[in-house]
């Protein structure tokens, strides 16, 4: 048997900075997700369904006589669209849950960290993969609803543009919250199923009991336990609609606090994580 081989030789290549390295993780992660039929279906269904229902909610609000001219408060309806909660949970479970867990389970994490990549780079890249996808159900539908409503003449462009700006802020808040929580849950286990179940538990395991208990006990403070109700309180206040019964400032503090805490704990955990693979 005769084998001829080229020889190895060393050479120096100037290397690019941190931004390019982070982008390399993002590009690989996005390519991975966009190859998965489940991820594509959830993204497409989520974006389409939440957009259609948000537009429908807005139109119904304008059609039903309420005695007031179309104004910014009308947009609190689509912002409180319950389908957003459902699809954000589904998207976080199907796409986000595996972002870190899958890498821990396979040797991908070992390979990532064998490169000049810090844990912060890695986490930022994972957040940058998930956040735009979550925004497809938290921000995009609100923007499109306002846009369509303005095009059809239901609202003035001034109101629509203002609504779009507020939508970006409140939708961004929800996006950050779910991105941080999902990555935190994904970093806890090598099994993405557990992280996915955790996202549903955080949403429906807190929201539904909190709303039921509020009705039974009659104390609306329990709603602070529900991330969704906190978000709705903030969104409603941002659009100038009447209060949902809980203080929007407290709700905002809770959402921001939990987001920052989840991000910090995930970072500390990833910083200390040891890759044990066998």
């Amino acid at each position: 048997m005769s084998i001829t081989l080229p020889t190895y030789s060393r050479l120096e290549i100037p290397l690019l900075g941190r931004r390019q390295r982070v982008w390399a993780i993002i590009a690989t992660g996005l390519r991975k997700e966009l190859r998965r039929p489940a991820a594509i279906v959830v993204m497409a269904l989520g974006a389409a369904f939440t957009t259609i229902t948000s537009i429908a909610i807005l139109f119904i609000a304008t059609i039903i006589p309420s005695g007031q001219a179309p104004n910014l408060t009308f947009f609190s309806g689509p912002a409180s669209n319950f389908f957003v909660l459902f699809f954000v949970s589904l998207m976080a479970s199907v796409i986000g849950a595996g972002l870190i867990a899958d890498d821990l389970q396979s040797m991908a994490f070992t390979l990532y960290l064998s490169r000049p990549i810090t844990q912060l780079d890695y986490l930022l890249a994972k957040a940058a993969i998930l956040a735009p996808l979550v925004a497809m159900v938290t921000i995009l539908p609100l923007l499109l609803a306002a846009l369509v409503a303005a095009f059809l003449g239901f609202f003035s462009w001034t109101i629509a543009l203002e609504a779009m700006g507020i939508s970006i802020v409140v939708g961004g808040l929800l996006t950050l919250f779910y991105t941080a929580i999902t990555l935190f849950l994904s970093s806890l286990s090598r099994r993405k199923g557990i992280a996915g179940a955790g996202v549903f538990a955080v949403n429906f395991g807190l929201t539904i009991p909190a709303e039921v208990l509020t009705i039974v006990i009659g104390n609306r403070s329990i709603l602070y336990l529900s991330p969704w109700d906190n978000y709705v309180a903030v969104a409603t206040a941002a659009f100038g609609a009447s209060s949902t019964g809980i203080d929007w400032a407290v709700a905002l503090a809770i959402l921001l606090g939990v987001t920052v805490l989840a991000a910090l704990v995930t970072y500390v955990r990833m910083k200390a994580v040891e890759v044990i693979t066998g």
Partner: protein, 306 residues
């Protein structure tokens, strides 16, 4: 102490299990083989060296630096893990390119260097096939390609020959030798002493998390020769291959543990590994992988540690 790797009293626990037990060794320049049976602590030591594990006790340095969370040091090393899972949908070319981009290499250079590295390990013809379709030996070569494509100072190779076919072994060993000739350092683990003998005489023997001996390979060769060395061969025609191998006088036994597996035991492993490629080539039999169960080495280690 000015070795490439210095380890002094390094211990690592996994809960109740001791991965490394006051491991002390100094690895010099060039190629060093870390030899020990499965579970001896080889992978743990390598994970400590690439900064993915943190030692519970003792001090370890790689190229004079503490590797734990040491990002700049990672630019200087190339790591080939033992595990076989890859992002299977990536082609070999994309796999190496992606990892080069993580190093910060520009896209054009990544493409060029990935192509060159795959050529060095003999994977050019399969570069544009998804890695999920690769044989185990091809995956080993792809992992070696990503480890050396960014031109590191040191290669850390965890069982790089495990499961590789005869041609793949030749490529891998040749690549490692060339890398070292060019001034690079190599740490390579194996549980098959005869594989490492082809590229270096410097070995460190590890058993139960401790370095039990280090130095020249020939000293323990005689010991090992008294224990028949087992080789498991993956082939579609194990009986025909056994027939072809029967002319080797040093073979002690043949077994057929599975429909596509032949297990041979030899008293002269070096001769066996030398002659096998020629026989495979002459008979044109399909050999997909070679693996040595570590029972023979384990026996020697039990003898060494009493």
């Amino acid at each position: 102490m000015n070795g490439v790797v210095e380890a002094v009293g390094v211990s690592k626990w996994y809960g109740e299990v001791l991965g490394l037990n006051a491991f002390t060794a100094s690895f010099g320049k060039g190629i060093t083989g870390l030899v020990g049976p499965n579970g001896a602590g080889k992978s743990t030591l390598f994970k400590l060296l690439i900064g993915q594990l943190h030692s519970d006790q003792g001090k370890i340095t790689l190229l004079g630096e503490n590797p734990w969370n040491n990002v700049p040091l990672k630019r200087r090393l190339g790591y080939c893990p033992e595990q076989n899972q890859l992002y299977g949908w990536l082609t070999g070319q994309q796999f190496v390119e992606t990892l080069l981009r993580l190093d910060g290499m520009p896209a054009a250079e990544s493409r060029k260097e990935a192509t060159a590295a795959l050529k060095v390990v003999g994977l050019s013809s399969a570069a544009h096939r998804p890695t999920r379709g690769y044989s185990r030996g091809m995956r080993q070569r792809a992992k070696l390609a990503q480890a050396l494509a960014h031109h590191p100072e040191i290669l850390i190779l965890d069982e790089p020959l495990s499961g590789a076919d005869p041609a793949g072994r030749v490529h891998i060993l040749r690549t490692i030798s060339e890398f070292a000739k060019d001034g690079g350092h190599v740490l390579m683990s194996t549980h098959v002493l005869y594989e490492i003998e082809r590229v270096t005489n410097n070995i460190v023997l590890i058993h139960n998390g401790k370095a039990i001996a280090s130095g020249n390979i020939h000293a323990i060769r005689a010991l090992i020769d008294t224990h028949p060395h087992a080789v498991r061969i993956e082939t579609s025609k194990p009986r025909q291959l056994a027939q072809a191998l029967a002319r080797m006088e040093h073979l002690v036994s043949f077994e057929f543990p599975a429909a596509d597996t032949l297990l041979v035991r030899t008293r002269k492993p070096d001769a066996f590994y030398r002659e096998l490629p020629q026989i495979v080539s002459d008979t044109k039999l399909d050999v997909r992988g070679l693996e040595s169960p570590d029972d023979s080495l384990d026996a020697v280690f039990r003898y060494l540690v009493g």
